[in-house]
Amino acid sequence: MDDPIAIKRCKAGDKDAFRYLVERYQIEAMGHALAILADREDALDAVQEAFLDAYQALGKFDMSRQFYPWFYTILRNRCFKLLVRRRKNVGLSLDDALILAPVSEASGEDRLALEHALLELSPAERELLTLKHLDGLSYDELAERLQIPRGTVMSRLFYARKRLREKLL
């Protein structure tokens, strides 16, 4: 099965087809939610809610689009709503990786410093920087994903990097 077939089946009420979408994108979605929320429990909640929202909204899904960028908009709305509702402080723990995957021993120290610096940024800054550098999205792709103009992407990236550099120093 591929995404368009799964989506068509979902529109017809086939829940097994939706299972395919959940299982295909849940890990990616969790990674993105963690980068925004920096909290595993919240990320789990947000991703679940986002999948439920997506299921309800699939009837209006434009088949010319790709599923995940569309779903990402739903997911980030859920994440930012959760942040507003909970307003809880994120416990920063260096032992517990939330954003960056351990790549190699040699880069362990750099990774920890970067992880800590990222966690000190705002959720929106973390989201932008991780989408740019970890997912490798271009300015245009970021503009589409975040639904902001390209110029705004550039200026936000500038300030996010500036803040990250301050945190790393």
């Binding site: 829940k15 939706f18 299972r19 959940v22 849940q26 890990i27 990616e28 979605a29 969790m30 990674g31 963690l34 980068a35 595993r40 990320a43 789990l44 991703v47 679940q48 999948f51 439920l52 299921y55 309800q56 930012f80 709503k81 942040l83 507003v84 990786a97 939330l98 954003i99 960056l100 995957a101 790549v103 880069s107 750099d110 990774r111 970067l114 000190e120 940024l121 705002s122 959720p123 929106a124 989201e127 932008l128 920087l129 991780t130 740019k132 550098h133 970890l134 997912d135 490798g136 271009s138 300015y139 639904q147 902001i148 936000r156 990236l157 500038f158 990097r161 990250l164 550099r165 790393l168």
Partner: protein, 133 residues
Amino acid sequence: MALADGEMSPLDREEIDNHLRNCDRCRAEIEQLRAMNRLLSSQKRLRPEANLWRQVSERLEVTAGTPSFSWRLLLLFGIPLFGYKALLLSLQAAPSLWSKLVPIILVITVFSYLKTNPFKINCELTVRGELSS
């Protein structure tokens, strides 16, 4: 910044390269930025184990079990109105007190059902990427 990201137009790039040749401060700034970009781009995003289907499917079942909005509307307004009309008919005589009380009871019922937001106005603050931690 677009220069450090490699998303500069050729014309802009030429102008900036000319400037960078003569400006130590900007050159150092660009170098710092590139080093940070390299550090960030050498990392990989964490891919946490997740198995959400069970929870999602359970929630889907619950959602499917609740009546649709049109049915809720019918139940919400149809039954009380039907009851009101039936009451009027049963009283037959001029129901002066009832005709005043029933609409009030009806409104209270509707408002309490919808829990202080009777017209479903979305009063939740929507943040579009400007939250500080």
